[in-house]
Symmetry: C2
């Protein structure tokens, strides 16, 4: 038995695990009115079908929506699923802050030893 939100988290994290897809999202972030598939694809050194597959992954994760008007498809960023990923990570933020504090304390102690 797996949590309901688990599959959604799977898709979100998996979608974010690729640099091309993160770049696509970053590109959409600045464009409130969205971008067409071709405009979106233009800066990338891969074929259009490859970009489409990335858009499928992002779409399945709910991170990008597509609206077809005439022959052009406008893609928009849908950032909401990231909130769930963030919430999952937040569970650990206290933990890594502690670890970073310990590291900082350790470095300071070393500096005292050496200097």
């Amino acid at each position: 038995m797996v949590n309901q939100s688990s599959a959604a988290l799977d898709r979100t994290f998996a979608a974010l695990a690729d640099p091309t897809r993160r770049a696509l999202l970053a590109r959409l972030e600045g464009e409130v009115d969205g971008l067409s598939v071709s405009e979106l694809a233009r800066p990338f050194a891969i074929s259009l079908p490859a970009v489409m597959k990335h858009l499928d992954v992002l779409g399945n994760a709910g991170l990008v929506s597509r609206e077809k008007i005439g022959r052009t498809v406008t893609c928009r960023l849908e950032a909401a699923p990231m909130a769930e990923a963030m919430a999952w990570l937040e569970r650990y933020s206290a933990y890594w802050n502690n670890q970073l504090d310990r590291l900082a304390a350790f470095v300071e102690a070393e500096e005292d030893d050496d200097g």
Copy 2:
């Protein structure tokens, strides 16, 4: 040319994209002194080698460290790489808050229409 931190982010997000691996991390979160590989694996319905592969993925992402003492290997959570993932997501938090606000406003407007 890809950002230096890009590969690290790839590994972190990819490691987090699997429910078994997230469960392993969640289990380690409560254990300050870490857990042995066998203890860690016990609750899971998969073979030990399968768990080891997950630990390799987590280890490569820097999310788990292993220390061998005698014949037992102690695994500990290293949450620090998650901070980078969080920082990446934070870029979008304003965006998804806006979207959620718009959604809330829309729902309220609908309720006014219906009621």
